[in-house]
Amino acid sequence: MKTTTWLARLQAIALTVILLCVGLFAGTTLGTLAWAQLRALELVGSNPFIRLVGREASGRSWEIQEAAGLLTIYNSTSGIANLTLGAAPNGGLGMYGVLYSALGANTNGTFAYCSDCTVASPCDSLGTGAIAKRLNGVWVCN
């Protein structure tokens, strides 16, 4: 008789624990789903960021990060801050400095801040900087 009572109690406790776990799982899933369906995502803290890690090949990682009032789109793979917004002047756009020798042959429509280019067409080195635009297969810096 005693054994039966103990068994029944044990069964009840086990059942309660199982149900609690099931409930916890369901609650977490529901909560996460609800969060995923939200209209806004707010990341709060020191230097909050969103990271996109591409697994189709190794080390393809990007971050959209906030730090000291600046919004930066950062290429974690190359360690380059590709684009920075929010620096003075307000509304300006900051770009990473590329050397003339690294400009290469690229798709028309590409533009870069060439830190040692001259203001001329086509671009040339030994200057103090220019915005380089790839137009019709040529880098134009005027």
């Binding site: 190359s78 533009f111 137009l135």
Partner: protein, 142 residues
């Protein structure tokens, strides 16, 4: 008999429903807490992306996607990759090609890669490509 059934029902509620509900509640609170405390989010996988779907009118969708090391701001509505970062040279920005006829009248400060504009003071078609800047209500392609 009725009393027995009511007793059994009460037992079922206490034994099954209460722990389940407590679990759901705890899980929901946990998910919400974790989400609210998040400083960063990380999306990992092949071609991870963030999608912003505007419901104030139909079909206003943007995606920030990572693919093959390139970060793209993609307008799903117009099917245009508005901005590409991470191509060559590192640090550069690629804009999509826009025809002169499609430049329109956006706000001053806009700029675009006009693939059939000519390099000159005021933008015009029938060229081999120019950098179009919206200044003082006109398109400047010098």
């Amino acid at each position: 008999m009725k009393t027995l059934r009511a007793f059994a029902r009460g037992l079922m509620v206490r034994q099954y429903l209460v722990p389940l509900l407590i679990g759901v509640l705890l899980g929901g609170v946990l998910a919400g807490f974790v989400a609210a405390q998040t400083r960063s989010v990380e999306y990992v996988g092949s071609y991870p992306f963030i999608r912003l779907v505007g419901r104030e009118a139909s079909g206003r969708t943007w995606e920030i996607t990572e693919a093959a090391g390139v970060l793209t701001l993609f307008n799903s509505t117009s099917n245009v990759a508005n901005l590409r970062l991470g191509g060559n040279p590192p640090g550069s920005v690629l804009l999509p090609a826009v025809l002169f006829a499609a430049l329109g009248t956006p706000a001053n400060g806009s700029h675009a890669y006009c693939s059939d504009c000519g390099i000159g003071g005021v933008c015009a078609g029938a060229g081999t490509g120019a950098w179009a800047k919206r200044l003082n209500g006109g398109w400047v392609c010098n």
